[in-house]
Protein backbone atom coordinates (compact mmCIF):
# COMPACT_ATOMS: atom_id res chain seq x y z
CA UNK A 1 0.00 0.00 0.00
CA UNK A 2 2.69 2.49 1.01
CA UNK A 3 5.07 1.20 -1.65
CA UNK A 4 2.21 1.57 -4.12
CA UNK A 5 1.58 5.17 -3.00
CA UNK A 6 5.23 6.09 -3.57
CA UNK A 7 5.30 4.23 -6.90
CA UNK A 8 2.23 6.03 -8.22
CA UNK A 9 3.64 9.34 -7.05
CA UNK A 10 6.93 8.63 -8.82
CA UNK A 11 5.02 7.68 -11.95
CA UNK A 12 3.19 11.02 -11.85
CA UNK A 13 6.46 12.83 -11.18
CA UNK A 14 8.14 11.46 -14.30
CA UNK A 15 5.05 11.58 -16.52
CA UNK A 16 4.50 15.26 -15.66
CA UNK A 17 8.10 16.15 -16.43
CA UNK A 18 8.93 17.80 -19.76
CA UNK A 19 12.29 16.04 -19.99
CA UNK A 20 10.58 12.70 -20.27
CA UNK A 21 8.53 13.86 -23.23
CA UNK A 22 11.50 15.31 -25.07
CA UNK A 23 13.28 11.96 -24.73
CA UNK A 24 10.25 10.10 -26.02
CA UNK A 25 10.01 12.62 -28.85
CA UNK A 26 13.59 11.96 -29.94
CA UNK A 27 13.07 8.20 -29.68
CA UNK A 28 10.05 8.55 -31.97
CA UNK A 29 12.07 10.70 -34.34
CA UNK A 30 14.75 8.02 -34.60
CA UNK A 31 12.07 5.39 -35.12
CA UNK A 32 10.59 7.50 -37.90
CA UNK A 33 13.96 8.00 -39.50
CA UNK A 34 14.44 4.24 -39.67
CA UNK A 35 11.50 4.11 -42.06
CA UNK A 36 13.09 6.85 -44.13
CA UNK A 37 16.49 5.14 -44.12
CA UNK A 38 15.01 1.85 -45.17
CA UNK A 39 13.97 3.38 -48.48
CA UNK A 40 17.63 3.86 -49.32
CA UNK A 41 18.51 0.22 -48.98
CA UNK A 42 18.60 -2.41 -51.66
CA UNK A 43 18.05 -5.28 -49.27
CA UNK A 44 15.08 -6.06 -47.12
CA UNK A 45 13.45 -2.88 -45.90
CA UNK A 46 11.88 -4.54 -42.90
CA UNK A 47 15.23 -5.61 -41.42
CA UNK A 48 16.51 -2.03 -41.42
CA UNK A 49 13.37 -0.78 -39.72
CA UNK A 50 13.41 -3.60 -37.16
CA UNK A 51 17.09 -3.18 -36.40
CA UNK A 52 17.08 0.58 -36.05
CA UNK A 53 13.82 0.68 -34.14
CA UNK A 54 14.84 -1.91 -31.58
CA UNK A 55 18.16 -0.14 -31.08
CA UNK A 56 16.55 3.24 -30.61
CA UNK A 57 14.03 1.79 -28.16
CA UNK A 58 16.94 0.39 -26.16
CA UNK A 59 19.18 3.47 -26.30
CA UNK A 60 16.49 5.94 -25.27
CA UNK A 61 15.28 3.52 -22.66
CA UNK A 62 18.78 3.43 -21.18
CA UNK A 63 18.96 7.23 -21.25
CA UNK A 64 15.64 7.45 -19.39
CA UNK A 65 16.71 4.74 -16.94
CA UNK A 66 19.96 6.43 -16.08
CA UNK A 67 19.03 10.08 -16.11
CA UNK A 68 15.66 9.73 -14.47
CA UNK A 69 16.91 6.91 -12.23
CA UNK A 70 19.73 8.91 -10.67
CA UNK A 71 17.29 11.76 -10.03
CA UNK A 72 14.78 9.59 -8.21
CA UNK A 73 16.54 9.73 -4.87
CA UNK A 74 18.72 12.78 -5.48
CA UNK A 75 15.86 15.09 -6.33
CA UNK A 76 14.08 14.09 -3.15
CA UNK A 77 17.18 14.94 -1.13
CA UNK A 78 17.90 18.15 -2.97
CA UNK A 79 14.35 19.45 -2.80
CA UNK A 80 14.02 18.10 0.73
CA UNK A 81 10.72 16.47 -0.15
CA UNK A 82 12.12 13.39 1.54
CA UNK A 83 11.67 15.07 4.95
CA UNK A 84 7.93 14.97 4.48
CA UNK A 85 7.98 11.30 3.51
CA UNK A 86 10.46 9.82 5.97
CA UNK A 87 8.82 11.63 8.89
CA UNK A 88 5.70 9.59 8.19
CA UNK A 89 5.30 5.94 9.25
CA UNK A 90 7.02 4.50 6.20
CA UNK A 91 10.20 2.43 6.22
CA UNK A 92 13.10 3.52 4.10
CA UNK A 93 13.09 0.32 2.06
CA UNK A 94 9.44 0.91 1.21
CA UNK A 95 10.32 4.36 -0.06
CA UNK A 96 13.21 3.13 -2.19
CA UNK A 97 11.25 0.20 -3.60
CA UNK A 98 8.31 2.49 -4.39
CA UNK A 99 10.56 4.89 -6.27
CA UNK A 100 12.07 2.03 -8.24
CA UNK A 101 8.73 0.47 -9.12
CA UNK A 102 7.39 3.87 -10.17
CA UNK A 103 10.14 4.31 -12.73
CA UNK A 104 9.78 0.68 -13.86
CA UNK A 105 6.16 1.48 -14.57
CA UNK A 106 7.16 4.55 -16.58
CA UNK A 107 9.62 2.44 -18.58
CA UNK A 108 6.95 -0.15 -19.19
CA UNK A 109 4.62 2.52 -20.60
CA UNK A 110 7.43 3.97 -22.67
CA UNK A 111 8.41 0.64 -24.13
CA UNK A 112 4.78 -0.32 -24.83
CA UNK A 113 4.05 2.92 -26.68
CA UNK A 114 7.27 2.65 -28.66
CA UNK A 115 6.64 -0.97 -29.56
CA UNK A 116 3.14 -0.25 -30.79
CA UNK A 117 4.48 2.61 -32.95
CA UNK A 118 7.27 0.41 -34.29
CA UNK A 119 4.93 -2.44 -35.16
CA UNK A 120 2.50 -0.05 -36.82
CA UNK A 121 5.25 1.58 -38.87
CA UNK A 122 6.49 -1.82 -39.96
CA UNK A 123 3.04 -3.02 -40.88
CA UNK A 124 2.32 0.12 -42.90
CA UNK A 125 5.51 -0.09 -44.92
CA UNK A 126 6.12 -3.80 -45.30
CA UNK A 127 2.77 -5.41 -44.51
CA UNK A 128 4.51 -7.76 -42.09
CA UNK A 129 4.32 -8.14 -38.31
CA UNK A 130 7.51 -9.69 -36.93
CA UNK A 131 6.13 -11.08 -33.68
CA UNK A 132 9.40 -12.75 -32.78
CA UNK A 133 11.03 -9.34 -32.23
CA UNK A 134 8.71 -8.83 -29.24
CA UNK A 135 10.97 -11.23 -27.35
CA UNK A 136 13.83 -8.84 -28.01
CA UNK A 137 11.68 -6.02 -26.61
CA UNK A 138 10.97 -8.07 -23.48
CA UNK A 139 14.67 -8.57 -22.83
CA UNK A 140 15.36 -4.89 -23.52
CA UNK A 141 12.87 -4.13 -20.74
CA UNK A 142 14.62 -6.51 -18.35
CA UNK A 143 17.93 -4.87 -19.22
CA UNK A 144 16.43 -1.45 -18.47
CA UNK A 145 15.28 -2.76 -15.09
CA UNK A 146 18.87 -3.76 -14.27
CA UNK A 147 20.27 -0.41 -15.44
CA UNK A 148 17.63 1.51 -13.44
CA UNK A 149 18.40 -0.46 -10.29
CA UNK A 150 22.09 0.34 -10.64
CA UNK A 151 21.30 4.04 -11.19
CA UNK A 152 19.25 4.00 -7.98
CA UNK A 153 22.08 2.26 -6.12
CA UNK A 154 24.67 4.83 -7.21
CA UNK A 155 22.39 7.72 -6.39
CA UNK A 156 21.95 6.53 -2.80
CA UNK A 157 25.54 7.45 -2.01
CA UNK A 158 26.85 9.68 -4.79
CA UNK A 159 26.20 12.97 -6.56
CA UNK A 160 23.99 12.99 -9.68
CA UNK A 161 26.87 13.55 -12.12
CA UNK A 162 28.99 10.78 -10.67
CA UNK A 163 26.02 8.43 -10.41
CA UNK A 164 25.25 8.99 -14.09
CA UNK A 165 28.87 8.29 -15.04
CA UNK A 166 28.94 5.11 -12.94
CA UNK A 167 25.66 3.86 -14.36
CA UNK A 168 26.74 4.63 -17.91
CA UNK A 169 30.06 2.87 -17.31
CA UNK A 170 28.21 -0.12 -15.92
CA UNK A 171 26.04 -0.22 -19.03
CA UNK A 172 29.04 -0.10 -21.37
CA UNK A 173 31.14 -2.59 -19.41
CA UNK A 174 28.10 -4.80 -18.94
CA UNK A 175 27.97 -5.23 -22.70
CA UNK A 176 31.64 -6.18 -22.86
CA UNK A 177 31.93 -8.73 -20.09
CA UNK A 178 32.41 -11.56 -22.61
CA UNK A 179 35.46 -9.71 -23.93
CA UNK A 180 36.73 -9.36 -20.38
CA UNK A 181 36.49 -13.09 -19.89
CA UNK A 182 38.32 -13.67 -23.15
CA UNK A 183 41.01 -11.26 -22.04
CA UNK A 184 41.27 -12.99 -18.68
CA UNK A 185 41.84 -16.33 -20.44
CA UNK A 186 44.62 -14.90 -22.54
CA UNK A 187 46.55 -12.81 -20.02
CA UNK A 188 49.46 -14.43 -18.27
CA UNK A 189 49.54 -12.19 -15.20
CA UNK A 190 47.72 -13.70 -12.27
CA UNK A 191 46.73 -10.35 -10.72
CA UNK A 192 45.18 -8.99 -13.91
CA UNK A 193 43.44 -12.31 -14.45
CA UNK A 194 41.89 -12.19 -10.99
CA UNK A 195 40.65 -8.62 -11.44
CA UNK A 196 39.15 -9.37 -14.86
CA UNK A 197 37.49 -12.52 -13.58
CA UNK A 198 36.05 -10.64 -10.62
CA UNK A 199 34.63 -7.93 -12.90
CA UNK A 200 33.20 -10.60 -15.18
CA UNK A 201 31.36 -12.41 -12.42
CA UNK A 202 30.41 -9.34 -10.43
CA UNK A 203 29.01 -7.04 -13.12
CA UNK A 204 25.81 -7.91 -14.97
CA UNK A 205 26.25 -9.55 -18.33
CA UNK A 206 24.00 -7.21 -20.30
CA UNK A 207 24.87 -8.83 -23.62
CA UNK A 208 22.74 -11.70 -22.34
CA UNK A 209 19.69 -9.54 -22.94
CA UNK A 210 20.66 -8.69 -26.47
CA UNK A 211 18.78 -10.93 -28.90
CA UNK A 212 17.93 -8.14 -31.32
CA UNK A 213 20.02 -9.42 -34.22
CA UNK A 214 18.79 -12.96 -33.76
CA UNK A 215 15.12 -12.04 -33.78
CA UNK A 216 15.51 -9.60 -36.67
CA UNK A 217 17.04 -12.36 -38.76
CA UNK A 218 14.40 -14.77 -37.53
CA UNK A 219 16.93 -17.09 -35.88
CA UNK A 220 14.94 -18.97 -33.25
CA UNK A 221 15.71 -18.20 -29.61
CA UNK A 222 14.80 -21.06 -27.25
CA UNK A 223 12.17 -20.30 -24.63
CA UNK A 224 14.52 -21.56 -21.90
CA UNK A 225 17.04 -18.93 -22.89
CA UNK A 226 14.46 -16.16 -22.53
CA UNK A 227 13.28 -17.56 -19.22
CA UNK A 228 16.82 -17.84 -17.88
CA UNK A 229 17.69 -14.32 -18.97
CA UNK A 230 14.57 -12.86 -17.38
CA UNK A 231 15.26 -14.72 -14.10
CA UNK A 232 18.90 -13.67 -14.20
CA UNK A 233 17.89 -10.03 -14.71
CA UNK A 234 15.30 -10.03 -11.96
CA UNK A 235 17.67 -11.66 -9.48
CA UNK A 236 20.29 -9.11 -10.31
CA UNK A 237 17.74 -6.33 -9.74
CA UNK A 238 16.84 -7.73 -6.33
CA UNK A 239 20.47 -7.96 -5.31
CA UNK A 240 21.20 -4.36 -6.35
CA UNK A 241 18.08 -3.05 -4.64
CA UNK A 242 18.96 -4.91 -1.43
CA UNK A 243 22.37 -3.27 -1.51
CA UNK A 244 20.78 0.14 -2.15
CA UNK A 245 18.51 -0.29 0.86
CA UNK A 246 21.51 -1.14 3.05
CA UNK A 247 23.24 2.08 1.99
CA UNK A 248 20.09 4.18 2.18
CA UNK A 249 19.22 2.91 5.65
CA UNK A 250 22.33 4.47 7.16
CA UNK A 251 22.09 7.74 5.32
CA UNK A 252 21.61 11.07 7.12
CA UNK A 253 19.39 13.61 5.39
CA UNK A 254 21.10 16.93 6.00
Amino acid sequence: MKVYAIAINTFKEVIRDKIFYSLVFFAMLLLGSSVLLSTLTLGERSKIIEDLSLSSIEIFGVIISIFVGIGLVNKELEKKTIYIIISKPIKRWQFLLGKYLGLSLVLLSYISVMTVCYMLALYMYTNKLPWQTLMAVLLIYVELLVVTASAVLFSTFSTPTLSASYALALYVIGHMTEDLRGLAAKTGQAGVKAVLKFVYYFLPNLEDFNIKARTVHAIPVPAEYILMSVSYGLMYVMAILALSVLVFQRRNFK
Partner: protein, 308 residues
Protein backbone atom coordinates in the same frame (compact mmCIF):
# COMPACT_ATOMS: atom_id res chain seq x y z
CA UNK B 1 5.60 13.41 24.93
CA UNK B 2 9.17 14.18 23.89
CA UNK B 3 12.19 13.34 25.98
CA UNK B 4 15.84 13.55 25.07
CA UNK B 5 18.82 12.56 27.12
CA UNK B 6 22.33 13.74 26.33
CA UNK B 7 21.55 13.96 22.63
CA UNK B 8 24.72 14.53 20.64
CA UNK B 9 25.27 15.16 16.97
CA UNK B 10 28.50 15.60 15.08
CA UNK B 11 28.94 16.16 11.39
CA UNK B 12 32.01 15.80 9.26
CA UNK B 13 32.20 18.48 6.62
CA UNK B 14 34.40 19.38 3.70
CA UNK B 15 37.39 17.73 2.15
CA UNK B 16 39.33 17.43 5.41
CA UNK B 17 36.32 15.93 7.21
CA UNK B 18 36.37 18.77 9.72
CA UNK B 19 34.35 17.96 12.83
CA UNK B 20 31.34 20.16 13.49
CA UNK B 21 29.40 19.68 16.68
CA UNK B 22 25.73 20.52 16.21
CA UNK B 23 24.41 19.28 19.56
CA UNK B 24 26.35 18.94 22.80
CA UNK B 25 24.30 16.61 24.95
CA UNK B 26 20.78 17.96 24.83
CA UNK B 27 18.49 16.90 27.66
CA UNK B 28 14.94 18.19 27.66
CA UNK B 29 11.31 17.24 27.98
CA UNK B 30 8.07 18.37 26.38
CA UNK B 31 4.92 17.50 28.32
CA UNK B 32 1.59 16.33 26.98
CA UNK B 33 -0.78 19.12 25.94
CA UNK B 34 1.66 22.00 26.01
CA UNK B 35 2.91 24.36 23.37
CA UNK B 36 6.67 24.30 23.57
CA UNK B 37 8.74 26.91 21.76
CA UNK B 38 12.25 25.88 20.86
CA UNK B 39 14.26 29.05 20.45
CA UNK B 40 17.72 29.72 19.24
CA UNK B 41 19.68 31.71 16.68
CA UNK B 42 20.38 30.26 13.24
CA UNK B 43 22.75 27.33 13.45
CA UNK B 44 22.01 26.60 17.10
CA UNK B 45 20.99 23.02 16.36
CA UNK B 46 17.20 23.38 16.43
CA UNK B 47 16.60 21.80 13.05
CA UNK B 48 19.14 19.07 13.81
CA UNK B 49 17.22 18.21 16.98
CA UNK B 50 13.96 18.05 15.08
CA UNK B 51 15.50 15.92 12.35
CA UNK B 52 16.82 13.48 14.93
CA UNK B 53 13.37 13.21 16.47
CA UNK B 54 11.84 12.55 13.05
CA UNK B 55 14.39 9.88 12.17
CA UNK B 56 15.93 11.88 9.33
CA UNK B 57 19.41 11.85 10.84
CA UNK B 58 20.92 9.41 13.29
CA UNK B 59 22.35 10.97 16.48
CA UNK B 60 25.98 10.24 17.31
CA UNK B 61 25.22 9.99 21.01
CA UNK B 62 22.45 10.03 23.60
CA UNK B 63 18.89 8.87 23.26
CA UNK B 64 15.43 10.26 22.57
CA UNK B 65 11.87 9.08 23.09
CA UNK B 66 8.59 10.10 21.51
CA UNK B 67 5.52 9.15 23.52
CA UNK B 68 7.70 6.90 25.70
CA UNK B 69 8.94 4.95 22.70
CA UNK B 70 12.48 5.19 21.30
CA UNK B 71 12.73 7.23 18.10
CA UNK B 72 14.02 4.23 16.17
CA UNK B 73 10.55 2.72 16.50
CA UNK B 74 8.93 4.03 13.33
CA UNK B 75 5.42 3.02 14.41
CA UNK B 76 5.40 5.99 16.76
CA UNK B 77 5.22 8.25 13.71
CA UNK B 78 1.60 7.26 13.27
CA UNK B 79 0.70 9.79 15.94
CA UNK B 80 3.01 12.56 14.85
CA UNK B 81 2.69 15.36 12.35
CA UNK B 82 5.78 17.12 11.05
CA UNK B 83 6.34 20.28 9.03
CA UNK B 84 9.95 20.76 7.92
CA UNK B 85 11.68 24.11 7.65
CA UNK B 86 10.97 25.91 4.37
CA UNK B 87 9.07 22.92 3.12
CA UNK B 88 9.31 21.83 -0.47
CA UNK B 89 6.64 19.61 -1.81
CA UNK B 90 6.09 17.65 -4.94
CA UNK B 91 5.29 20.70 -7.01
CA UNK B 92 3.82 18.64 -9.84
CA UNK B 93 1.02 17.47 -7.55
CA UNK B 94 -2.17 19.37 -6.89
CA UNK B 95 -3.07 20.22 -3.29
CA UNK B 96 -5.69 17.47 -3.22
CA UNK B 97 -3.31 14.87 -4.66
CA UNK B 98 -0.64 15.83 -2.17
CA UNK B 99 -3.03 15.47 0.76
CA UNK B 100 -4.09 12.10 -0.64
CA UNK B 101 -0.48 10.92 -0.84
CA UNK B 102 0.11 12.01 2.77
CA UNK B 103 -2.96 10.07 3.88
CA UNK B 104 -1.87 6.97 1.97
CA UNK B 105 1.48 6.98 3.75
CA UNK B 106 -0.42 6.68 7.01
CA UNK B 107 -2.34 3.75 5.57
CA UNK B 108 -5.65 5.64 5.72
CA UNK B 109 -8.65 4.40 3.76
CA UNK B 110 -9.89 6.33 0.72
CA UNK B 111 -13.06 7.69 2.37
CA UNK B 112 -11.19 8.69 5.49
CA UNK B 113 -8.45 10.36 3.43
CA UNK B 114 -10.91 12.36 1.37
CA UNK B 115 -12.94 13.51 4.36
CA UNK B 116 -9.90 14.50 6.38
CA UNK B 117 -8.20 16.26 3.45
CA UNK B 118 -11.34 18.28 2.74
CA UNK B 119 -11.64 19.27 6.38
CA UNK B 120 -8.00 20.34 6.65
CA UNK B 121 -7.93 22.25 3.36
CA UNK B 122 -10.95 24.11 4.66
CA UNK B 123 -9.23 24.83 7.94
CA UNK B 124 -6.15 26.32 6.30
CA UNK B 125 -8.28 28.13 3.73
CA UNK B 126 -7.07 26.29 0.63
CA UNK B 127 -10.16 24.35 -0.40
CA UNK B 128 -10.72 26.81 -3.26
CA UNK B 129 -7.38 25.91 -4.87
CA UNK B 130 -7.28 22.20 -4.17
CA UNK B 131 -6.91 21.36 -7.85
CA UNK B 132 -4.05 23.76 -8.42
CA UNK B 133 -0.51 22.39 -8.77
CA UNK B 134 1.67 23.21 -5.78
CA UNK B 135 4.22 24.97 -8.01
CA UNK B 136 1.69 27.78 -8.40
CA UNK B 137 1.33 28.26 -4.64
CA UNK B 138 2.66 31.35 -2.84
CA UNK B 139 4.95 30.98 0.14
CA UNK B 140 2.13 31.47 2.62
CA UNK B 141 -0.02 28.91 0.83
CA UNK B 142 2.89 26.42 0.80
CA UNK B 143 3.28 26.85 4.55
CA UNK B 144 -0.43 26.28 5.07
CA UNK B 145 -0.57 23.16 2.88
CA UNK B 146 2.48 22.02 4.86
CA UNK B 147 0.57 22.36 8.09
CA UNK B 148 -2.45 20.64 6.57
CA UNK B 149 -0.38 17.62 5.48
CA UNK B 150 1.16 17.43 8.95
CA UNK B 151 -2.32 17.07 10.45
CA UNK B 152 -3.76 14.50 8.04
CA UNK B 153 -3.42 11.70 10.60
CA UNK B 154 -4.97 13.76 13.42
CA UNK B 155 -1.67 13.52 15.36
CA UNK B 156 -1.28 13.84 19.10
CA UNK B 157 2.07 15.52 18.70
CA UNK B 158 2.71 18.20 16.10
CA UNK B 159 6.32 19.16 15.36
CA UNK B 160 6.83 22.31 13.34
CA UNK B 161 10.20 23.62 12.18
CA UNK B 162 10.12 27.41 11.79
CA UNK B 163 6.44 27.54 10.90
CA UNK B 164 6.42 31.33 10.75
CA UNK B 165 9.63 32.16 8.98
CA UNK B 166 9.27 33.97 5.72
CA UNK B 167 5.61 34.76 6.24
CA UNK B 168 4.02 38.20 6.17
CA UNK B 169 2.14 39.44 9.27
CA UNK B 170 -1.16 38.06 7.96
CA UNK B 171 0.37 34.66 7.31
CA UNK B 172 2.00 34.64 10.72
CA UNK B 173 -1.28 35.41 12.41
CA UNK B 174 -2.95 32.58 10.49
CA UNK B 175 -0.28 30.10 11.57
CA UNK B 176 -0.49 31.37 15.15
CA UNK B 177 -4.25 30.89 15.16
CA UNK B 178 -3.88 27.37 13.79
CA UNK B 179 -1.41 26.51 16.55
CA UNK B 180 -3.71 27.92 19.22
CA UNK B 181 -6.61 25.97 17.69
CA UNK B 182 -4.58 22.77 17.91
CA UNK B 183 -3.74 23.48 21.52
CA UNK B 184 -7.45 23.90 22.27
CA UNK B 185 -7.97 20.53 20.64
CA UNK B 186 -5.61 19.00 23.21
CA UNK B 187 -2.60 18.52 20.94
CA UNK B 188 0.99 18.83 22.02
CA UNK B 189 2.93 21.26 19.85
CA UNK B 190 6.68 21.47 19.64
CA UNK B 191 7.98 24.13 17.32
CA UNK B 192 11.23 25.88 16.65
CA UNK B 193 11.40 29.55 15.84
CA UNK B 194 13.33 32.72 16.18
CA UNK B 195 10.33 34.99 15.97
CA UNK B 196 10.11 35.94 19.63
CA UNK B 197 6.93 38.02 19.93
CA UNK B 198 4.91 35.01 18.73
CA UNK B 199 6.53 32.83 21.34
CA UNK B 200 5.43 35.07 24.19
CA UNK B 201 1.87 34.95 22.92
CA UNK B 202 1.40 31.24 22.27
CA UNK B 203 3.96 29.18 24.19
CA UNK B 204 3.39 27.51 27.54
CA UNK B 205 7.07 26.78 27.90
CA UNK B 206 10.20 27.61 25.99
CA UNK B 207 13.70 26.27 25.72
CA UNK B 208 16.60 28.38 24.49
CA UNK B 209 19.24 26.55 22.51
CA UNK B 210 22.54 28.25 21.78
CA UNK B 211 25.31 26.52 19.89
CA UNK B 212 24.07 23.05 20.63
CA UNK B 213 23.46 23.66 24.32
CA UNK B 214 20.19 24.22 26.15
CA UNK B 215 20.73 27.48 28.05
CA UNK B 216 17.32 27.95 29.62
CA UNK B 217 14.02 26.12 29.87
CA UNK B 218 10.75 27.00 31.57
CA UNK B 219 7.61 29.10 31.20
CA UNK B 220 8.07 32.58 29.81
CA UNK B 221 7.14 34.04 33.23
CA UNK B 222 9.61 31.79 35.05
CA UNK B 223 12.39 32.78 32.73
CA UNK B 224 11.60 36.47 33.10
CA UNK B 225 10.87 36.47 36.84
CA UNK B 226 13.53 38.18 38.82
CA UNK B 227 14.14 40.58 36.02
CA UNK B 228 13.68 44.16 37.21
CA UNK B 229 12.20 47.17 35.58
CA UNK B 230 14.95 48.09 33.19
CA UNK B 231 13.97 51.61 32.34
CA UNK B 232 11.04 53.99 32.40
CA UNK B 233 10.00 56.03 29.41
CA UNK B 234 8.14 59.29 30.07
CA UNK B 235 6.52 61.57 27.51
CA UNK B 236 5.66 65.08 28.67
CA UNK B 237 4.83 68.56 27.42
CA UNK B 238 4.79 72.13 28.74
CA UNK B 239 8.15 72.18 30.50
CA UNK B 240 10.79 74.70 29.51
CA UNK B 241 13.80 76.66 30.72
CA UNK B 242 15.76 75.60 33.76
CA UNK B 243 13.40 72.66 34.59
CA UNK B 244 13.78 71.28 31.10
CA UNK B 245 17.57 71.33 31.42
CA UNK B 246 17.33 69.56 34.79
CA UNK B 247 15.13 66.85 33.27
CA UNK B 248 17.63 66.46 30.48
CA UNK B 249 20.44 65.92 33.00
CA UNK B 250 18.39 63.34 34.96
CA UNK B 251 17.46 61.27 31.92
CA UNK B 252 19.61 58.87 30.01
CA UNK B 253 18.35 60.20 26.70
CA UNK B 254 15.77 62.61 25.38
CA UNK B 255 13.96 63.22 22.08
CA UNK B 256 11.66 66.14 21.28
CA UNK B 257 9.01 65.96 18.61
CA UNK B 258 6.84 69.06 18.27
CA UNK B 259 5.57 70.02 21.74
CA UNK B 260 6.19 66.59 23.19
CA UNK B 261 9.40 65.30 24.67
CA UNK B 262 10.17 61.70 25.46
CA UNK B 263 12.83 60.93 28.06
CA UNK B 264 14.19 57.64 29.33
CA UNK B 265 15.18 57.08 32.95
CA UNK B 266 17.40 54.36 34.27
CA UNK B 267 15.24 53.36 37.25
CA UNK B 268 11.91 54.05 38.89
CA UNK B 269 13.46 56.39 41.48
CA UNK B 270 14.73 58.77 38.81
CA UNK B 271 11.42 58.54 36.99
CA UNK B 272 9.49 59.51 40.14
CA UNK B 273 11.71 62.54 40.69
CA UNK B 274 11.26 63.57 37.08
CA UNK B 275 7.49 63.19 37.36
CA UNK B 276 7.42 65.52 40.37
CA UNK B 277 9.51 68.06 38.54
CA UNK B 278 7.15 68.07 35.55
CA UNK B 279 4.12 68.63 37.81
CA UNK B 280 5.87 71.35 39.82
CA UNK B 281 6.80 73.27 36.73
CA UNK B 282 3.19 73.16 35.53
CA UNK B 283 3.88 70.66 32.77
CA UNK B 284 1.75 67.75 31.67
CA UNK B 285 2.60 64.03 31.56
CA UNK B 286 1.29 62.30 28.45
CA UNK B 287 2.52 58.77 29.14
CA UNK B 288 4.71 56.83 31.55
CA UNK B 289 5.82 53.35 30.54
CA UNK B 290 8.02 51.06 32.65
CA UNK B 291 10.07 48.61 30.53
CA UNK B 292 10.69 45.17 31.90
CA UNK B 293 13.10 42.68 30.43
CA UNK B 294 11.51 40.85 27.56
CA UNK B 295 12.14 37.40 26.20
CA UNK B 296 14.16 39.13 23.53
CA UNK B 297 16.55 40.60 26.13
CA UNK B 298 16.93 37.20 27.75
CA UNK B 299 17.52 35.63 24.37
CA UNK B 300 20.12 38.22 23.40
CA UNK B 301 21.81 37.78 26.77
CA UNK B 302 22.02 34.00 26.40
CA UNK B 303 23.29 34.26 22.85
CA UNK B 304 25.79 36.92 23.93
CA UNK B 305 27.16 34.80 26.80
CA UNK B 306 28.57 32.25 24.45
CA UNK B 307 30.37 34.85 22.39
CA UNK B 308 32.42 36.17 25.26
Amino acid sequence: MIRTEGLKMEFRVGFFRKRVVALKGLTMEVKRGEVFGFLGPNGAGKTTTLKILMGLVHPTGGAAWLMSRPISDSSVKKNIGFLPEQPYFYDYLTAAEFMDLSGRLFGMRKKEREARAGELLDMVGLSGVKNLQLRKFSKGMQQRIGIAQALINDPELVVLDEPMSGLDPVGRKQVRDIILGLKDGGKTIFFSTHILPDVEVICDRVGILVRGELRAMGTVDELLSGTQVKSVEMTFAGVSGEEFSRLERMSSGMVTRGNETTAAFGDQEAARAAKRLVFESGGEIISLIPHKSSLEDLFMEEVGKGRK
